[in-house]
Amino acid sequence: MGGGDLNFKTMGIVETDWKNLFEEILECEVFTVRGMLESLLTIVKPQGVESISPREKLENSSWNLTKSYKNRIREFLIEKIIFILGITALLIMGLIFVFLIQTGIRLFEDVSLGQFLFGREWYPNATNPRFGILPMIVGSLMVTLGAILISVPIGIGSAIFIAEVAPPKTKTVFKLIIEFLSAIPSVVLGFLGIVVLSNWVRISFNLSSGFTVLTGSIIIALMALPTIISVSDDAIRALPDEYKEASLALGASKWETIKNVLLPAASSGIIAAVMLGVGRAIGETMAVMMVMGNAVQIPSTYLESGRTLTATIAAEMGDTVRNGTHYNALFAIGVVLLIMTTIINTISEWVLHRAQREGK
């Protein structure tokens, strides 16, 4: 077996191999180019082997066990294409870090790090410009803190409701609504913040302007909620049923079980959820820019106007000159944001990872 006469039979298949290659790339089952190609390929079918059954033909055709160049080239090409696509994507992601840092760091030729981080004055366009971002750091932290104070209790409560209290159908509907909330563009929420929420804040607290840190916090809370709810919900539902059953079997009520067994066991996941919510809050741009008034000052209460790091970039980038000090300063703010969110994300990833390793 495996002699020369059998190789002759493989020729038909070898001949159509380039068509195969082409077909492989296009025809991922989903694309259904199959029909077209099939009819095309039947025309160039090998000739003169009608006497034997298709299965015998199949048996004979695969006797050559040595790698064919065409097969090797095909796999090689496809692997390289995927490699290039993958590496390009990953390089772009790496480039983001490099590019921002490289541009942002140039600021420190003109301004010291201390002046930048702890300076209270931000006059980028004055004749004697100042680039202190402390007011913005405080603004970002305040609005984030406010948002978290509002969203964490509500979020965890909702997660418990979804995971343990709600009947299945209600659960599905509510989850869908929460997911849609996370899909609403921030500019739409910002718009509603202007036309509805700021008026409400102004009237309720008897202020001259409703564009306050509080207004921003409420909107950001709404935006952070879906993240907090879904990650906490996942954490609670990932717990093995035995935990719950054991506690219930011991005569504990449902709420006691939640309080004493489920919440402590899911705590890592819930902490991660809160961290991710913080990350979302710090990074939010449009809504806070639209409702916080953007005054460069360190707000002494939540009922004053303030400005965040993100809003500064979005509001001022259009007025800068490329590679000017102001331009570099905004990139440096970008780096500060990048560092903040990286720290937050790394912590939450680490907490989640640890929770998974503990085998919950």
Partner: protein
């Protein structure tokens, strides 16, 4: 052992050693697989029998950190050669797994999967291959009216016979079976065993089994594995009646592992 000289051998293994990283899973394996016979590999779990089975169609290549040393030849061709096409090798040496694993496609598409990958495009040819293979796997009568229904709707035993049909469609020379009945009920197991006895007319079968009764019922030759070594091998009848090694005797009489 004189069996190694047997001219009817389809696979010859010489001095095979296999390592998972630092751990040696197979030690100095010497054996032959004879054409149109059922060879059973038995031994306690973790003894290396499944690992050995997977060296025969190079499925161990998929696991990172595995190194294989020694010679394995199939029809006189060294299968660990640099220029050997693993894909072509696996078309000649089919495999059936422990858990039935049909693709989430139709019954027809499951059987046609292999032939399609080998370049069979003609619908008529495919129809013929599918019918023949399903008949050979004794499944045709049960599924001929629902070839386009999902394979996942079949019972476990039917799924496993579909997996056998899927492997047979390629008309392989050798069929490797890795505990093919361990996930099935006794009735389904019975049908598969019957099928195996029929298939040996046309195919060489190597089967890993945890059940000594199964080995005794269906196999012609048996190899007993222990801690990565073949302790004893030979005619099944002889192995189960008059084993020459004490450890084999302990195992087949149930005093072991």
């Amino acid at each position: 052992m004189s069996d190694a000289m047997n001219s009817n051998a389809i696979i010859k293994v010489k001095d095979l050693n296999l390592y998972y990283g630092d751990f040696q899973a197979l030690k100095n394996i010497d054996t032959t697989i004879e054409k149109n016979k059922v060879s059973a590999l038995i031994g306690p779990s973790g003894c290396g029998k499944s690992t050995f089975l997977r060296t025969l169609n190079r499925m161990n290549d998929l696991i990172s950190g595995v190194t294989t040393k020694g010679e394995v030849s199939f029809e006189g061709r060294e299968i660990y050669d640099e220029d050997l096409d693993v894909v072509a090798l696996r078309r000649k040496i089919g495999m059936v797994f422990q858990k039935p694993n049909p693709f989430p496609k139709s019954i027809y598409e499951n059987v046609a999967y292999g032939p399609r990958r080998s370049g069979v495009k003609n619908k008529k040819d495919l129809d013929q291959i599918v019918e023949e293979s399903l008949k050979e796997a004794a499944l045709w009568e049960e599924v001929k009216d629902r070839l386009n229904k999902s394979a996942l709707g079949l019972s476990g035993g039917q799924q496993q016979r579909l997996c056998i049909a899927r492997a047979l469609a390629m008309k392989p020379q050798v069929l490797l079976m890795d505990e093919p009945t361990s996930a099935l009920d006794p009735l389904a197991t019975n049908r598969i065993e019957e099928l195996i006895t029929q298939l040996k007319k046309n195919y060489t079968i190597v089967i890993v089994t945890h059940s000594m009764h199964q080995a005794a019922r269906i196999s012609d030759r048996t190899s007993f594995f222990l801690m990565g070594e073949i302790i004893e091998q030979g005619e099944t009848n002889k192995m189960f009646t008059t084993p020459s090694d004490q450890r084999t005797e302990d195992y087949v009489t149930g005093r072991f592992g």
